[in-house]
């Protein structure tokens, strides 16, 4: 069963124009709940409420405002907000190409596969060129009134566009000060590294099924058919006081495993 394309665009850089279709690279597998009023189990609605009078303000009467530092409001109407929106278009502009690791995954938001829109010779040439040069593109495009930045890369031989978070949306780790203290104990450090080495493994994503999802569905089924469910209190384990001792015991345990 083929997936439905969510958007069509044209990849452009230099003289290159490659028409493509976008397909979601991920699928939602969450168990979905509705929020209900406890008393009568009716679904609740979201509404904008005046917190002073507790009165609901209909959506069409609500305005948007920017709140300045000292609490002044700048009122904005829909027309002026619309005027600030990016101009729509089909262009997926590739700004530059960078080596594969240059765009860190911390920027990654959502992946889309690209399929050919039309005959597709350039489409396959693009996939092969990305693979062989080991480069990926930094892209900009406007999709459904929203401006995106993205990484154009290859996965399993097919081109993919990963939308990226904007600059302000990722807290830069470099701006934070790591916890400090006395120099770490060399022996403890060596034991910790040894333990990591003993727990080294390959990443095999297929080995991790979402068992919890199954348990949630089972819980729902049990409750629906009137069976009781057990609730256990959640307690947090105590923190370790003796690091060296715990490390020694951990290594011993890992060796015998």
């Amino acid at each position: 069963m083929a997936a439905r394309a969510i958007w069509k665009g044209i990849i452009g850089f230099g003289d290159v124009r490659v028409p493509v279709k976008l397909y979601s690279g991920v699928q939602d597998r969450n168990v979905h709940f509705r929020l209900l009023h406890r008393k009568d189990r009716q679904p609740v609605r979201q509404a904008m409420v005046n917190p002073v009078s507790d009165e609901v303000v209909p959506y069409q009467d609500a305005r948007r405002a920017f709140v300045s530092d000292n609490g002044d409001l700048v009122m904005l109407d829909n027309d002026e907000l619309d005027a600030l929106q990016p101009a729509p278009g089909r262009e997926i502009e590739i700004v530059r190409f960078v080596p594969q690791q240059a765009i860190d995954h911390r920027w990654y938001e959502r992946p889309y596969y690209l399929g050919p829109d039309g005959a597709g010779e350039d489409y396959f040439a693009l996939a092969a060129a990305l693979e062989q040069t080991g480069l990926e593109g930094l892209a900009r495009w406007v999709m459904r009134n929203k401006a995106y930045v993205g990484a154009l890369r290859v996965r399993d031989g097919y081109p993919m566009l990963v939308s990226l978070r904007h600059a302000d949306e990722v807290v830069p780790v470099e701006a934070l000060q790591p916890p400090g203290g006395k120099p770490l104990d060399a022996r403890e450090l060596s034991m910790a590294r040894q333990l990591i080495g003993m727990l080294a493994a390959e990443f095999k994503p297929e080995e991790y099924a979402d068992e919890y999802r199954e348990r949630v569905l089972k819980l729902i089924e049990d409750k629906a058919s009137g069976r009781g469910v057990k609730v256990v209190p959640i307690r947090r384990p105590k923190k370790s006081e003796d690091l060296a001792g715990a490390l020694e015991a951990s290594l011993k345990q890992a060796r015998s495993a």
Binding site: N30, M75, L135, L176, Y212
Partner: protein, 355 residues
């Protein structure tokens, strides 16, 4: 923009529990490493009264407090199964309180398509030494820990990554949430002609550089919006001035501390002692996480800029790591003239001179 998914400012951790490494138990708290758009608009009524987004009962015509709201799973049009938070936690009690690091993988071996969202881990009281030890050894070994944990009625697969002496939990998509080209129905691969491939490679290489600049990820819409409101504010057009007492008196919003500030304090082991009952005591009203992916809505509060702005400004190199809007917030505190016209570089220069 209040629709943004990850507007989770505020000093509360999103999850608290224990990181287990061998037999070492290390209490930690999770804070978001991603945040919503820096310039957020508020919904107000025509008189400028800020509105709050509330859950609302149509029948009774009133807004509902969080404790009157429960999660329900729809069986059919009229029937729901109510599911309580403690029932969800009980489905995997150990994973609701513990991130157990049983495997360490090479970070570059994880296909980046799996990464979903990042959180910083901060050490809870007395856990700093173990935290530093784990972060250092993971960085030395160049490995990330893989574990699962349960948060807000959903299980997460995550990679614990150490960088710059700081641990991050990066949630990963499950294998069956990632599609293959085959599942999408992409056509079979075809060899391009030599000529087409060569032309394409040349076009790609012509635009190749070693790296890109963080500034290239700027949200132009936000910048346009910022310029627009600055202009209106300066001209006094459509501006409703804050009443004196609001501008002067600390409002309830002053409790909303900037995420950066909270992270800085937590990482240095300065956790707020009281009022820190964290994310494990979930209130469904706020945590629609299981309802539709990850809508985490909070009562809308005006964005407060970085409160650390009052500190002595750091060196230019440190300032360069901040985004333009963070720099701008600092410039605002210092009342730097001409700040709204300044580029990021100019802001860094101006701020470092104030040091």
């Amino acid at each position: 923009m209040e629709e943004d998914e990850d507007v989770i400012a505020g000093p509360r951790p999103i999850w608290s529990g224990t990181l287990a490494f061998g037999l070492i138990s290390l209490p930690v708290s999770l804070f978001p490493a991603n945040r919503g758009r820096p310039l957020s608009l508020k919904m107000v009524d025509p008189d400028g009264t800020p509105l709050a987004r509330r859950y609302f009962c149509e029948k009774e015509g009133k807004a509902l407090p969080a404790d009157e709201i429960v999660r329900g799973y729809k069986l059919d049009d009229e029937h729901y199964v109510v599911v309580e938070d403690d029932e969800l936690d009980s489905l995997a009690p150990e994973r609701s309180r513990e991130i157990d690091l049983r495997q360490f993988v090479r970070l570059d071996a994880v296909d980046p398509i799996y990464f979903e969202r990042a959180y910083f881990l901060t050490p809870d009281e007395g856990a700093t030494k173990a935290y530093r030890l784990l972060a250092k050894s993971m960085e030395d070994e160049q490995r990330a820990g893989i574990a699962r944990f349960v948060m807000r009625g959903k299980e997460y697969l995550c990679a614990i990554v150490a960088e710059h002496g700081i641990l991050r939990a990066e949630t990963l998509r499950f294998h069956d949430e990632v599609r293959s080209p085959d599942m999408v129905g992409l056509p079979a691969r075809k060899e391009p002609s030599k000529a087409a491939l060569k032309r394409m490679q040349q076009a790609v290489k012509a635009l190749a550089t070693k790296k890109f600049d963080r500034a290239e990820l700027t949200d132009d819409y936000i910048e346009r919006l910022r310029a627009h409101v600055e202009k209106k504010l300066a001209a006094g057009r459509d501006v409703i001035r804050a009443p004196e007492e609001v501008a002067a008196a600390p409002s309830e919003d002053s409790n909303v501390v900037d995420l950066m500030q909270v992270l800085k304090e937590r990482l240095q082991g300065r956790a707020p002692p009281a009022d820190d009952k964290p994310a494990t005591s979930r209130r469904p009203g706020r945590t629609a996480g299981a309802e539709s992916g990850s809508k985490t809505r909070q009562k809308a509060t005006p964005h407060r800029p970085d409160r650390s702005a009052g500190e002595r400004p750091a060196k230019a190199s440190r300032l360069k790591q901040l985004s333009r809007s963070e720099l701008y917030a600092r410039a605002q505190k210092l009342d730097l003239a001409g700040r709204s016209q300044m580029s990021k570089t100019q802001l860094v220069d101006a701020l470092s001179q104030r040091g």
